[in-house]
Symmetry: C2
Subunit: 239 residues, 2 copies
């Protein structure tokens, strides 16, 4: 049976079950009707029903337990999808300094390297107009022939800005968020006072083969240095 306005059948199934879960008439832990029952109810083939159920599963609303049935999930509100505020993500970046240093214990651990392996440190400032809103230091192992500084910059240090075709999905990022104050050299490179609380984002760049190709510390000054996220099932308008 076709739905009315060119709405695919599986979307109808998804929507109706989603509504029942969202409004509570299907509560967490409850079992959904079996695929065959839904086939009968919607007069659709099993694959079509499964398509709708798959969407619910991917939205995090249900899970399937093979040979038992589908069940409503218990909502998770301690996991968030986080994105950077526009100011940081789209703001201006200015080069500040570049150094070759001995790794601190922190950097050794983050990059998984011995103490005698030197590291290149890149200093960049985040700006919004003339106002500095952050400072980012990226550390990259200094090694393997070192093609040229330029190549290192393009492909290892700032992969997000480099030729996307070359970097691809070859790495992912681990993120750690802390609140800190700045001191010493860091403070002098930031436009703030010693008592100002800052967000510190530590990121480790890891290839799919497990190699740690970079480590960065980014200091963000309030009120620009804010992060935003959402958790749970956010209602989306049909795109």
């Amino acid at each position: 049976m076709k739905a009315n306005n060119h709405v695919p059948v599986y979307v109808t199934i998804f929507s109706e079950l989603r509504d029942r879960i969202v409004n509570g008439s299907l509560g967490p832990g409850e079992m959904l009707p079996s695929e065959n029952e839904l086939c009968a109810k919607y007069r659709a083939s099993r694959e079509t029903i499964r398509k709708g159920l798959k969407q619910l599963e991917q939205a995090g609303l249900i899970y399937s337990s093979p040979r038992r049935g589908y069940f409503v999930n218990t909502p998770q509100h301690n996991k968030f999808t986080l994105s950077f505020s526009q100011d940081i993500g789209n703001g201006e970046v200015r080069f500040k300094d570049i150094r070759i240093i001995r790794p601190t214990a922190e950097i050794q651990e983050a990059l998984n390297i011995p103490s005698n392996r030197k590291v290149i440190a890149f200093y960049r400032g985040n700006y919004k107009g003339e106002r500095q809103i952050g400072l980012e230091i990226k550390y990259v192992p200094y090694d393997r022939g070192l093609p040229t500084i330029e190549d290192e910059i393009n492909f290892a240090v700032f992969p997000e800005a480099a030729d996307a075709k070359a970097t691809s999905f070859s790495y992912y990022t681990e993120l750690n968020i802390q609140a800190v104050t700045a001191s010493g050299e860091i403070l002098s490179m930031l436009d703030c006072s010693p008592e100002d609380p800052l967000l510190l984002l530590k990121r480790t760049y890891i290839t799919q083969s497990g190699e740690h190709i970079g480590y960065s510390k980014q200091y963000l000054i309030p009120p620009y240095g804010e992060l935003h996220g959402v958790s749970g099932y956010v209602q989306k308008n049909t795109h």
Copy 2:
């Protein structure tokens, strides 16, 4: 053609294409072979091929453009899936105080209420053993007959701890992360100094109908108050 060790064909398709994308032999923006070509290559039916491609799409590696083809995505590293550290998520929570207050401008805006609408404020401490690692204040509109304080606590203030069957997916959470220092009353309820930088998590609880049912401010003390996240495509072992 069946795969070797009971590995579904669509998983094989997913894995092989994923590897080609991850190792760069299929770069961002490149078009994948068409479904029909993949059908021929893997000697599988079109729906099976589509299943594998769907997985790649949901992993964020590719996207499909109807009537044109499938294309490799450009990786996004400014979106993170974030979760709380174990200490916070699994730590102990102790009740501290409960008050009925006039909403500040901040709370009015967060809860979307007028200034004459009173608010219940719940104060809770996060502990790890005897060490306090955080303070959370939840604000809930004081209204609609007020069933009993207990009900408010169970179903509006601490839904994550209440009967899951009653709360369901009826709300989602918006999160904001800042770095701050504590002062005045907040400071006195926290086990830290005025100059200690703290993480401040502001959360707004929103029902699917758009109603703002709660607002909370959680202060976290380093080094326990840390957040962790990942971005990009993280290799997972087949569970």
